[in-house]
């Protein structure tokens, strides 16, 4: 289907039947007509077999460019004995697709893989039973290839899946009890099948959420201060002069409380009106002074929690041969999706349709239900991919802003955030202070480890809802918001260990949210530099030092894999420093997110006169258990390595006491082509281990490897990232 037809279909389809996917979602004639989530205990919720001997698999995970929409089809095709050309999926839609939880924590394959696998296996089992009756042969005598069931030895006695269930429901309970294939028999799973979404993404036919239009819609923009204040303070309108846009035909102001927007039939008129509208805002300072941010965090009254405590850390420290005690700082960083978030909403008195690029259509629906004071089942949320979000960017805020604009204007509205809206009102990855103490005996065995971390939680209320009157609230606690038992020493065998989390009051700081590998870059930047410093004191090569303190076979395997890839030769760090203007160094690091195993080696170059640091080569290895498609994970590792370089060298949200000031790509620079490292991704395939996340599990290791390479090159520890030229020059001059 060409893009134009798709868009026409969207337009002529009318507001509540948008989405070409619905045509593909038969057999159940009523699929899509009732609010979801569809019953996860029914096979029909998960897949449908069509007359033409193909299958539609209903997947509850969002394609975000990581390839999960292809990989989960590989899982289904494998169990169903279908070819990849015989399976397809549909767009996420709260009336159509199951609720598998959001596409968070790189869990599509980890959590969704087993569900899709067992559902497909159970459907296959049912199909074989039907075929057994039809062909009058026992199930044990049947074989399947490409969806054709045959009697072994009598290929003329056969029937297709499509003939057995021709666009008809199974009406079968999903019990999860059907046997699945042993990994040794996998043909499709584990294969490097190309991604389904790529051809349309390069020929221009891919429909991004930014391309979705509804008939009769208006274009909307929000009007906010340039750059957020402290989360708890929101934004307060002082005065608003509607006559300031009177000359723009068809543009008008809509407002609820401090939520201000403009709508217009013509998009450029909406952009102009938002720019031109005269609004004054409360400018009382609410933010910390940026230069003193980490000191304020360290001194703040916090809610404390001991995450892990074992052995006697103080006692072990007292008798250690080598002790390192260091403090590290991480910045606020932005999601800054390349295309700002966009959403289209049609809110009617008794129901609503919202099209957006959320990680979780059901979660977004709940937020909209609260905002619109409408039962969740009256709201239909459909997913179209936006640009890479890497966590909780402004997609929920965009969905809510579009819904509010639509309700206030009483028309369908397409809301497109401008660059400064997205950069300035993001849920940033929170800043962090980490204080680490690590000790070893004379032989270099780690005997004590302590990590104390300071940061605030994520923000639970979207800006649109907050400005319209909902009070700010911190996200409830969770593993990804506090000191990580895995990244903070968890890979090493340490008898005496203590991890303490200090939770800051979120309303005094910037809005927070999960940003790819949340907090992990900061944890490993601190923890793995301290481990490296201990290796240095013990005069042991940093790779060997790690090896001798690890017994877990999976950590050892990724560590060895990355060292082998980088042709690591043993020597003490900082033992080959150069007096020249350009120093080169290498570093190694370990880390992950909540699961899986990551290891990285960095080779970097430091221009001592300018303070410029460039990563020349990054190697990253991941063990994520059974990898459904190694090519996809390699692409994810490559992307993570480049993004980590960007976050370690460039990215830092800036603010004054009134507003965030990093509002575009000049004030919030990211890595570009000329500074991009060579990358080597390494996948450790483990067919017999359960699949775990692979979309963010090597960034922490890479962050640490970069920092350790800096020490190797200069003999100087960097205490704070990003390693901007001014920070690097300051560190070098302090050391000199």
């Amino acid at each position: 289907m060409s893009s134009v037809i798709r868009r026409d279909f969207l337009k002529t389809g009318g507001a509540l039947i948008i989405g070409f996917s619905l045509r593909e979602s038969l057999p159940a004639e009523d699929r899509g007509s009732v609010a979801g989530p569809p019953d996860a205990k029914q096979i029909d919720t998960w897949l449908a077999i069509h007359t033409d001997n193909t299958a539609t698999v209903y997947i509850g995970f969002a394609e975000l460019g990581q390839g999960n929409s292809t990989a989960l089809l590989q899982v289904a095709a494998e169990e169903l004995d279908l070819e990849m050309s015989q399976v397809r999926t549909v767009q996420l839609d709260t009336n159509v697709t199951p609720n598998q939880g959001g596409t968070y924590s790189s869990a599509s394959i980890q959590r969704g893989g087993p569900q899709v696998r067992t559902a497909a296996a159970e459907a296959r089992q049912a199909l074989l039973q039907m075929a057994s009756q039809k062909l009058e042969a026992p199930v044990e005598h049947l074989t399947v290839a490409k969806g054709v069931v045959s009697v072994a030895g009598s290929p003329d006695r056969s029937v297709t899946y499509g003939a057995l269930v021709p666009d008809k429901p199974f009406h079968l309970a999903f019990t999860g009890t059907a046997p699945v294939k042993p990994p040794a028999e996998y043909k499709v799973v584990g294969a490097r099948i190309p991604r389904n979404d790529i051809p349309d993404k390069v020929n221009g036919r891919y429909v991004y959420v930014q391309h979705v239009h509804l008939r009769g819609m208006l274009h909307g923009r929000v009007v906010r201060p340039r750059g957020q204040r402290a989360y708890g303070s929101g934004a307060k309108v002082g005065s608003l002069d509607e006559s300031s846009i009177a000359e723009i035909p068809g543009a008008r102001v809509v407002r609820r409380g401090d939520f201000v927007g403009v709508v217009a039939e013509n998009e450029w008129d909406a952009v102009r009106a938002a720019r031109q509208l005269k609004v004054t805002w409360d400018t009382a300072p609410t933010l910390p002074t940026q230069a003193r941010l980490h000191e304020q965090m360290r001194a703040a009254k916090t809610t404390d929690r001991v995450v892990v405590q074992r052995g006697d850390v103080a006692g072990a420290l007292a008798k250690a041969a080598h002790v390192v005690s260091e403090s590290y700082r991480g910045p606020y960083q932005a999601h800054a999706p390349f295309g700002p978030n966009c959403a289209v909403a049609h809110v009617m008195p008794d129901r609503a349709l919202v099209v957006c690029s959320t990680q979780d259509v059901y979660g977004t629906r709940n937020g909209l239900a609260r905002l619109l004071d409408m039962p969740a089942e009256k709201i239909r949320v459909q997913y179209y991919e936006g640009s890479g979000t890497f966590g909780h960017s402004c997609y929920d805020d965009a969905a809510q802003a579009a819904a509010l604009l639509s309700r206030l204007a009483d028309k369908p509205v397409r809301l497109q955030f401008m660059r400064w809206d997205e950069h300035g009102w993001d849920n940033y990855g929170p800043a962090h202070v980490g204080e680490v103490q690590v000790a070893s005996d004379a032989a270099g065995k780690i005997i004590a480890y302590q990590y104390e971390g300071w940061q605030h939680n994520w923000s639970a209320v979207e800006t649109s809802a907050q400005l319209a009157g909902t009070p700010a609230a911190d996200w409830p606690g969770g593993a990804a918001q506090q000191v990580s038992a895995l990244n903070c020493g968890g890979m090493y065998d340490i008898a005496n260990l203590r991890l303490v989390n200090h939770q800051l009051p979120g309303k005094d700081y910037l809005k927070g949210g999960w940003l790819r590998s949340p907090l992990d870059l900061s944890f490993s930047f601190a923890s793995e530099q301290t481990i490296d410093a201990l290796a240095y004191l013990a005069e042991i090569d940093p790779y060997q030092f790690r090896r001798q303190n690890i017994t877990d076979a999976r950590w050892l395997t990724v560590l060895d894999a990355v060292a082998r890839s980088a042709k690591w030769t043993p020597r003490r760090a900082a033992s080959q420093r150069s007096d020249g203007k350009v120093a080169t160094g290498r570093g190694i690091g370990l880390g992950t997110h909540l699961v899986s195993y990551g290891a990285a080696v960095a080779e970097i170059e430091i221009h001592k006169e300018t303070g410029r640091v460039v990563a020349k080569r990054l190697h990253g290895a991941v063990d994520a258990g059974l990898v459904v498609n190694p090519a996809f994970v390699e692409n994810q590792i490559s992307g993570q390595l480049v993004q980590t370089a960007s976050r370690m060298f460039k990215e830092e949200v800036t603010f004054n006491t009134t507003n965030v000031t990093s509002l575009d790509w000049n004030s919030y620079p990211v890595l570009r082509f000329e500074e991009c490292p060579e990358v080597t991704p390494i996948v450790v395939q483990r067919l017999n281990e359960r699949s775990t996340g692979a979309g963010e599990e090597v960034m922490a290791a890479a962050a640490a490897a970069i920092a350790n390479a800096f020490f190797d090159a200069t003999g100087v520890r960097v205490r704070e990232y990003p390693l901007t030229p001014s920070r690097v020059l300051a560190a070098l001059s302090r050391a000199a």
Partner: protein, 168 residues
């Protein structure tokens, strides 16, 4: 006030009703419903909205529509035909070699930046058919990618360069 303007897009003359100062992007993406050029920053900083104007990569988000009257605009959608005309091929291939190379390298992640990547790489190869890696990096430096696909984009441009050398 909106008036009638004629612009040449992908070798077709299109009549559009837009105020002369309207950025070209809003005309292409809105009125003409093209999906190639897309909004990224509105500040000419990222390359999301790029098109070719008389063969030169141009940021359509800051280019008033009145500026391109009488010029030839090529968007992602028209790139295979633009390539065919350049190479004097009898008919347009389904994809420009850069597009095919990006598929072959499986370079894409979210793909939102690839409109600009493809436009810029096509412009580069039209001027420098066999660029060095350094030339590729320099030419592409004004195009951002948040997913970190740069290494594969570089490989794809090199692959496309080799493929184009094989075309008469």
């Amino acid at each position: 006030m909106p008036g009638e303007l004629k612009i040449r897009v992908n070798e077709q003359v299109r009549t559009v009703s837009a105020a002369p100062d309207t950025p070209l992007l809003y005309v292409l993406a809105g009125e003409l419903e093209l999906q190639g050029p897309r909004f990224g920053c509105g500040l000419a900083q990222c390359g999301s909205c790029s098109v070719l104007v008389n063969g030169v990569e141009t940021r359509s988000c800051v280019t008033p529509v009145s500026d391109v009257q009488g010029k030839s605009i090529t968007t992602l959608e028209g790139l295979p035909a633009w390539y065919a005309a350049q190479k004097k091929l009898r008919s347009a291939p389904p994809l420009h070699p850069v597009q095919q190379a990006l598929i072959d390298e499986q370079a894409v992640q979210c793909g939102y930046c690839f409109n600009g990547m493809i436009i810029k790489a096509s412009e580069l190869l039209s001027k420098v058919p066999q660029p060095t890696e350094a030339q590729i990096r320099t030419a592409m430096n004004g195009h951002l990618c948040r997913c970190g696909t740069y290494p594969r984009v570089i490989k794809a441009i090199q692959r496309a360069s080799r493929a184009m050398a094989g075309v008469a």
